[in-house]
Structure formats: C-alpha cells, structure tokens
C-alpha cells in the first residue's frame, strides 16, 4: 500500500512550526547587532566585554545541559579550567611561534581536552536525583581543582601558568593592550558556537532533550536512547566550556587555579538562572547584566558590592519567575495585553 500521498494539512502545519522554530526573530538579530556595536560604543571597556562574552559562553554550556536536558550540574567550571590550562600550556610551549600557539588551534585543544574529560565523566550524571548530580559534579570539580593545584610541575600551582603567549589570530591580528582583538575574537567564537547550539536545540535532537528533561521515564518508554543523548549533550557542553576556558587563557595570557575554582561553576549557573534557563539567550543576558552590575557596583562600593548583588538576586527570585527573561516576558505580555486586546 502506497504511503506516498500528499501531506495532510496537519502535517504541513507541523512542518511549518518545526521549521519556523529556526527563524531568527527580530529581538535576536537586534541582540547580536548590539553586541557588535559595543565595539564602537564602549571602546574603553573592551576587556570587560571580552570577559562577559566568555562568561556568556560558559553560561551557554550550562544552559545546554541544565536548561535543555535538565541535568543539574555544578561542574562546568572544571571544564572551563581544563580548557584554559590545556590551551595555556599549548600556547606556552609553542612559545608564540609554532603551530601550538595559534589561537584557533588552542581553542580546539582546550575544547577537545575538556570534551574528552566530559565524555569520560558523563556516566556520573546519568543516575540519581537532582541533588545527587549536583553533588557529584561538584565533587568532580573540586577534585579537578585539587589536581591542578597539586600538579605544580605542569600548571605552576597557585602562582598560575605564566608565559602564555598566543600568536596572532589568523596570523594577522595580535592581541593588543586595549583588548580590541580579544573582544572581536571572543565575540566571533561565541557567535559561531551559539549558532551551532541554536541549530542543535531547534533540531529533533534538541526536542528530544527537552522531552528527556520533561519526563525521563516516559522518554525511555517510547524507546529513545536517553543515555546516549545525555552523554552527547554533556560532552558538547564540556567542549563549549573548554573553548570558553581557552578563550580566557588566550585573552588574559595566563591561567591560574582561579580558573578551576568552584566559584566558576557557581557563577555560570547563577548567571544562567539569573537570565532564565532554557532559552539559550538567558545565559548571555544573565552574564551581561550580572557582570555589568558587579562592575558598576564594584566601582561605587569596592567593599560591599556583594550586598547589593545579593539583594537583587533575592528580589528577582521573589517577584519574578524564570529570571530576567521571565521578567521581560512578563513585561512584554503585560504591554501586549494593554496595547493589544482592548
């Protein structure tokens, strides 16, 4: 019996919805244009902006595992640090001349090593409750922290890795004191990885992740290879975090144990939840706002900025659901209700 008939109207609609998910909304395009424009709007703050871009990338990696696959993890910071040290060591031993110091190769080295370790430890997050996974990933992160500190002969210990000298990007642009090259480089890398992530989550693979997040038992029951998917997304997220670490090492030109410290994971998760998990932009927005607030508050009160940040967090959670994106969503729908249906 031939199944080749013209698609039913429902199927056409379903296809349109599925394909339409990949269209770029106006707000998205505006975001990226603004990011590029920052190069000219804030020429004196480019180091900070590079840092924000890198933080955004880490938050993005957390979003992939947490926002889309529902794996609660406090371990992304470890991959960030591993990527930073891997790329840093590559650049250091390449001594600015050989292929090892090329920044792009450094990115792959950083991301690759992190992805490998992510893959190797992915079995840890397959079982257990939220709390279990939180603690296991935290434990792994803390172990990585200790290992880095202990392996002084390789990592320079608590003094950090000195002499990280990446060569020019694409052989043309050298990292300058003003942070110009660093920002453009970080932003481009972020954008490219973002587009890939976006395609990933809009794809059937991404949809299956959301199904797993919603109800793992049921997803298994319909025959989906849940473990394989989780391992895949965890490895990809580790790669992303590793690349972010590599970026950090290259743009700051050193790596220190602070890069594997627990607060990196905590900050990334914090920024993601602050921005709103599960929409890919939450991490980016969260990083921008959180880090900017930290900088501004830090200038106003170098000692007590933490207080105001804490107040903001508490207020945000008490009054809004879903972080900043949730807040924007509320405002938008309120505005629409007022202006639209009358």
């Amino acid at each position: 019996m031939s199944m080749i008939t013209s698609p039913s109207p429902e199927a056409v609609q379903a296809r349109a919805v599925l394909l339409g998910r990949s269209n770029w909304g106006a707000a998205e395009i505006a975001f990226w244009i603004l990011a590029v424009a920052c190069y000219w709007i804030f020429p004196t703050k480019l180091s900070l902006l590079s840092e924000i871009a890198i933080l955004g990338l880490v938050a993005l990696s957390v979003d992939l595992v947490l926002g889309y696959a529902g794996i609660v993890t406090l371990g992304q910071g470890a991959f960030f640090g591993i990527g930073a040290y891997a790329a840093g060591l590559a650049a250091k031993h390449g001594m600015g001349t050989s292929l090892w110091s090329d920044p792009l190769i450094g990115l792959f080295i950083g991301g690759g090593v992190a992805a490998f370790i992510g893959f190797a430890t992915s079995f840890l997050v397959l079982r257990g409750s939220d709390m279990t996974r939180l603690m296991v990933t935290l434990g792994v992160a803390l172990i990585v922290d200790e290992v880095v500190n202990q392996m002084k002969w390789l990592t320079g210990g608590s003094d950090g890795l000195q002499g990280v000298l990446p060569s020019a990007v694409l052989g043309i642009w050298d990292f300058d004191l003003f942070g110009r090259v660093a920002y453009v480089y970080s932003l481009v890398v972020l954008f490219v990885l973002f587009v890939i992530a976006r395609a990933l989550v809009k794809s059937p693979f991404g949809l299956s992740l959301q199904a797993i997040k919603g109800n793992q038992l049921r997803t298994r029951a319909i025959g989906m290879p849940v473990n394989a998917r989780l391992i895949a997304v965890y490895t990809v997220a580790a790669f992303y975090a590793g690349v972010a670490g590599a970026l950090a090492a290259q743009t700051t030109q050193f790596a220190s144990p602070d890069y594997v410290a627990f607060h990196r994971s905590a900050d990334a998760m914090l920024m993601l939840v602050f921005g709103g998990a599960g929409h890919l932009y939450g991490g980016l927005l969260g990083s921008v706002i959180f880090r900017t607030m930290q900088d501004v508050l830090g200038n106003i009160t170098p000692q007590y900025w933490q207080f105001w940040l804490g107040v903001t967090l508490v207020a945000l959670v008490l009054f809004v659901r879903g972080g900043i994106l949730g807040l924007l969503d509320n405002l938008l729908s309120a505005w629409r209700r007022k202006g639209g249906a009358s």
Partner: protein, 388 residues
C-alpha cells in the same frame, strides 16, 4: 587666506598636542591606581594597604612637584584575571602614571606584562615571592620578600641551640619560598629540617599537620601562613599543646600579624618570629605612624601590609620629586632605584640592581606591653636584601 591656513594648521597641531596619546606627560593630575583585594579572603590586606596609603597622603598632602595626586582604588577580589583586567583599564582608560598594590603573588605576576607593555611603574606593596620583581622591568617593591624575612629566623635558631626543626607552611608561592629559604639557611648553619609539611591554602583544619609535627618531636616548629590565617593556626597550636611538649614555636611575623595579635590570647607570649615590621618598633617615626594610624582608622592597629602601602606612596612621591614631575614611566622607575629613607619600620632602600626592597629584619618576641600583645624586637639584622 594664507593666515587662515596657518591658523588652521596651528589649531590642528595644537589640538593634536592636547589630545596626545602620552596623556600623562601633559596632565596636571597624576593618577595612582591601586589594585587591591578589598573583598574575599585577603580583604584585610587590601584594607591595611589602603589605610597606609591614605595616611601618607593625609600627612604629606596631595601635591608633589606641582602635580596633584589622585588615588584610585580597585577591588580585584583576589582573582588574578581581575587584577590584569583592572590594570589594563587603569592604564588605558584612567591613564594612571603608577600602578600599585597586589595583595598576592599571582595577582602581581598577572599585572607584570601590562606594566611592561604600557611602560608604567608598578609598586608592589604586599606580594612577597622573590621572583615577581624580575618578571617586569617596571616592578618596584616596597613590601618584603619571604626569603628576606625568613633567613634571619633560621640564623637565630641555629645560634640558639635549636638543632632540629619541622616546617609547616601554606602550600603556595610565598609559603614554598619561605620553606626553601628556611631550609637552605638552617641547614647551611648545621641544623636539620626533619620534615617539610604543607597545608592547603584554603584549609579549615590544621590539626593533622600539627599532630604530625608533634609526633616528630623537633626542637622547634617553624610556621608560615598568609596574613589573616594566623589566628586559627595558633589556636590549634595551643590546643595541641606543642609548646608544653617542649617544641619551640617560631615563624615569620605573618603568623603574629599585628592586625590580629592582640586577640590571639596570652598563650602566644614567648613566641619568636622574624619580620620587617612590628607595630612596637621603637623609633620616633613609628610611634608617630602608629598613633596617627590608630586615630584615622578606628583603632585598627597598623601591620606590615600597611607600611607596604605607606612606603609605596612614599616611593611614588619621592620619585616624582626626583623627576620634577615628569611622568614618563621609564624615568620614574630609574628615579626609584636607589631611593632610601627612614620608614616607620626602620631604614629602607630600593636596590638599584634588582628594584627590590632592602631593609632591616628584626627578630621579635611576643610580649605583653601596657596590657596588649606586641611583637617586641630584640635583635636586628640590618640591610637584608630582598632578592639577589
């Protein structure tokens, strides 16, 4: 027509001059950017240095060689990538003529390349590892180095019937520096270091290490922990009754930090340490310094970090006087080389070859003076070099 052209070009040239990139050279205000850990575990270091720096400015005015000095304080939370970013911003945006501060070794090392690239002198007011100053030709130190403060302790021990020592240090740059310096000096004088113990930097429990030291039964236990951890370390030393077991407790002055000493309890009386500064240093300069510091800072006692800040500003002022206000970085560093003056800590100078600080190191004993605990100096080793 001609006149207009000349005027125009003069105007353009004038504008170019005025907005020239070597901004510092043409300014009336000279900015000094201090990068300090104002929050986080090393926050007390940052506070002390800031207080010391501000006290200098309060006592000496804020004008030098016709230029107005403006102090900018930035918090790097003790994270090296922050220090680097802040240093870059200070140099590029605020166009500071001097960088300063650096509460820990990795923070200073991170800023080195920035100072070198921007040709801005960076005054190390706290960090103590010996290798830092060599990492950039623009580094000048006014604090101390661990070998500088440790070697006299080893010498004193060897000369005072101590034959075996166990060392316990925090496992990071300055700690390892101190351990190495002590061992080298002590063994050169015929002593023996039984074991070198290292406790993790972020460690809440010293107990197992102290127990191990006690079990080894040395003549003395040498301690080093960063400023701020001394209290909990000594609490556990006392709890374990090491002194009663016949083990002499010695260490560098970081452990009997003036900031905390008074609250640490009478069991410390008798502990011998070596360091470059004690609030009880008997000189007119120091008495005036301590009195003014207490008054300006709500009865907070100054410690060795604060003189790092105080003398750091002194070096900056003196350098500017020597260059008559010229803020060219290379000239300022040259001006700082060889400077010498009497600080509250005693006489000190900047070694022209290494740009490190040469100063007296004192051996002190914890005693009760006027109802408060102080490190009372009883021996002086003059003019110890910071690094070779």
């Amino acid at each position: 027509m001609f006149r207009r052209q000349i005027l125009k070009s003069m105007g353009v040239a004038g504008l170019a001059l005025a907005t020239g990139i070597s901004a510092a050279a043409a300014q009336e205000t000279v900015k000094v950017g201090l990068i300090l850990p104002m929050t986080g575990p090393s926050a007390s270091t940052g506070r002390q240095i800031e207080a010391g720096a501000r006290l200098w400015m309060a006592q000496n005015g804020n004008t030098v060689a016709g230029k107005k000095i403006e102090l900018i304080i930035k918090d790097d939370t003790g994270a090296a990538d922050q220090s680097k970013r802040l240093a870059t911003e200070l140099v590029v945006n605020d166009k500071v003529a001097f960088l300063g501060g650096f509460g820990l070794t990795p923070l200073a090392l991170a800023v080195g390349p920035v100072a070198t690239q921007a040709k801005v002198p960076a005054v190390i007011m706290a960090a103590g590892t010996s290798t830092i100053v060599a990492s950039s030709p623009y580094f000048v130190r006014t604090s101390f180095t661990l070998p500088q403060n440790t070697a006299p302790m080893a010498q004193w021990s060897a000369a005072n019937n101590i034959k075996t020592v166990v060392t316990l240090v925090s496992d990071y740059g300055p700690g390892l520096d101190s351990e190495k310096a002590f061992k080298a000096e002590f063994e050169a004088k015929g002593g023996k270091v039984l074991e070198t113990l290292r406790s993790p930097l972020m460690n809440p429990e010293f107990a197992p290490f102290l127990q191990k030291a006690k079990d080894l039964k040395p003549d003395a236990l040498f301690l080093f922990v960063p400023s701020g951890q001394g209290a909990s370390l000594m609490k556990q030393v006392n709890e374990r009754e090491l002194a009663k077991a016949g083990i002499k407790i010695i260490g560098t002055g970081d452990v009997t930090d003036d900031d905390q000493l008074n609250g640490m309890g009478d069991q410390l009386i008798g502990m011998i340490t070596s360091h470059n500064y004690s609030a009880a240093h008997d000189s007119p300069e120091n008495k005036a310094y301590v009195a003014a510091f207490l008054k300006a800072n709500n009865n907070m006692r100054p410690n060795f970090m604060s003189v790092g800040g105080y003398d750091g500003m002194a070096a900056i002022y003196k350098a500017l006087e020597k260059t008559k206000g010229d803020t060219d970085g290379t000239k300022l560093v040259e001006a700082m080389k060889g400077l010498s003056w009497v600080s509250p800590r005693g006489p000190m100078s900047i070694d022209p070859a290494t740009r490190d600080v040469t100063q007296n190191v004192y051996v002190r004993e914890v005693k009760k003076v006027d109802g408060q605990l102080y490190n009372v100096e009883f021996a002086t080793i003059p003019n110890v070099k910071g690094s070779n």
